[in-house]
Symmetry: C2
């Protein structure tokens, strides 16, 4: 059984209020009494009830991480970064997965109104097209920090990578390697990261005057099977691309597998570059050219800023915007390196 | 600002106690009053404080998942499974990473004494060689369910895979493919999963009478760089193996990379089989033969059992042991399939 403050009171023949004040080092209690209480608490292995303490201090020592999924290298590395900072600070980490559903994201944020957490780190769902639920939480006094996938219209801290620039670099790299028809495989069209990456892609095409027609953006935000079919049909078509930019990790494997099934060789028939933190990029067949986000660092930075927002009353989260650069690693999937 | 029970009381000119009883559907309150309270609560968007509610009911509607790391396909898939069941049940999920440290695992469990969580799902750290911290939690009345990495001496529910049998199958497969000198790359020697996998490996060698000497087990439980050096030295040696069993996911990439650097071809010079849930196994160079654990299913099953333990007073967790089979997928890394 857990030892309660009442047990301590009974054994020492003191009131519960006195024990409570002694444990919180109140000036009303004599050093001798504090000593007696502290010794018994230690002896009986007493730990304060966190929720009682939370009610008193209006602090739960808990933060929430709201993100679309965990089975993705970027998010699992980001969680590692967040957890390492939370651990240093003595905070607990609640994980909520939206599975890309806006409805679920709204429901999750609504639960936080009740004071379960002291702050929120979030990367919005692919469906999120309104940010009222987040604005409401902030208006209620909840510190919120976005990482990676942000809502630009919400005035709070944002930790992102250089999505426009890295996509520009990726596209320019494909052009340099000789691609004439580069296609961008798009994730959810409302996502901040996707919009920026599309813009970088279009700008690089325009700057290199590859063509006069529009850039070709293929939406791939269904399930694995649907995405595979879209990619496979694309590569079977008469007008097939010679270069592909996969804007998210999960679009990588379908391209490799479709090429295998269709007898296309990467990089001879098709050059591929992916936004991914896959640790196996180096040992794929062929090794994959990647844009790698600083996932661990982004998680750490976002958590560090959130704790400033939680701990410092006057800290203005809306002034914080950190951009951490991604790295382009050239490998054989875009030509012989 | 959050609406409190006090706000409802003031607006309706009722006592806080009456509001509280009305909200919990007490028989002491008239249906008319309940109706008035419920309507105002709805109108003002009142949510009960979860910690106040937790103090009253001794339930936090929160479970903890204690695991070594999250940047591993098995664990991230298991979390998905756990989260899906917790979501259905209306529970919150706290994630704690031990980073394979026993000390950290002990510290984490100690925190739960205070009632922060209603139950624990855990996969022990690679350093864990004593289970007193877990036995203590259980003695305190905390429901605990192990998944994957278990402590056999702790009497509580365990959800595991067929580690012995799948390792036996993996070794037999390598023998069938012509390997004469098969080495087992071992993770932490105290881990239940590793012990069972080593036994399966040894038994298969013995049953096939490959040799009279001891099976060769190479410990690889350091950091990435150390593991790489061990594997690379092994493959450079005079007495190098022609078959390798990588007992955990993270030992896969070092084998591929070392072979590349040393000019060895998989599967001609070396056949490799890994315990892994890597979704890229199929597109590696060459495609990797895998033992794949039912990670999502294991997470779901463990969570389902834990909720029975939390919700049903008489449910005996110590009687629960579920073994879900792993799948051997034969691919080119062990021969031409």
């Amino acid at each position: 059984m857990n030892v309660t403050i009442r047990d301590l009171a009974e054994q020492l023949n003191l009131s519960v209020a006195t024990i409570s004040k002694a444990l919180t080092d109140s000036y009303e209690i004599s050093p001798e009494t504090k000593q007696r209480v502290s010794e018994l608490a230690k002896k009986l292995n007493y730990s304060p009830n966190p929720y009682a303490s939370s009610l008193r201090k209006r602090s739960s020592k808990t933060i929430a991480v709201v993100l679309p999924e965990v089975a993705d290298s970027f998010f699992s590395l980001a969680i590692n970064g967040i957890e390492s900072i939370a651990h240093e600070k003595g905070y607990h980490v609640l994980i909520y997965l939206t599975h890309e559903s806006f409805e679920r994201e709204e429901a999750i944020l609504k639960e936080f109104k009740s004071g379960r957490v002291d702050g929120i780190l979030m990367s919005v769902s692919g469906e999120t097209c309104s940010s009222n639920h987040i604005k409401e939480a902030i208006a209620d006094g909840m510190p919120v920090v976005f990482f990676d996938r942000v809502c630009e219209d919400v005035e709070t801290a944002k930790v992102v990578t250089d999505d426009f620039e890295s996509s520009y670099r990726a596209t320019s790299h494909l052009i340099r390697m000789g691609c004439k028809k580069i296609i961008y495989l798009s994730t959810s069209p409302t996502l901040s990261i996707n919009i920026k990456r599309m813009e970088g892609y279009k700008k690089a095409l325009a700057d290199n005057a590859i063509r006069n027609t529009d850039a070709e953006i293929i939406p791939c935000h269904g399930d694995t099977e649907t995405n595979y079919k879209i990619i496979s049909d694309l590569l079977k078509g008469k007008n097939k691309p010679d270069g592909i930019i996969a804007s998210v990790e999960k679009l990588t494997a379908p391209v490799y597998i479709a090429c295998k099934h269709l007898g296309l060789t990467i990089p001879d028939d098709l050059k591929l570059i992916s936004f991914t933190n896959l640790q196996t990029a180096l040992i794929l067949d062929p090794p994959l050219t990647t844009i790698t986000q600083p996932a661990l660092e982004m998680g750490k930075t976002a958590a560090t800023i959130l704790f400033k927002g939680i701990e410092k009353k006057n800290f203005d989260l809306s002034k914080e915007r950190v951009i951490l650069p991604s790295i382009l690693a050239e490998r054989s999937s875009t030509g012989n390196c």
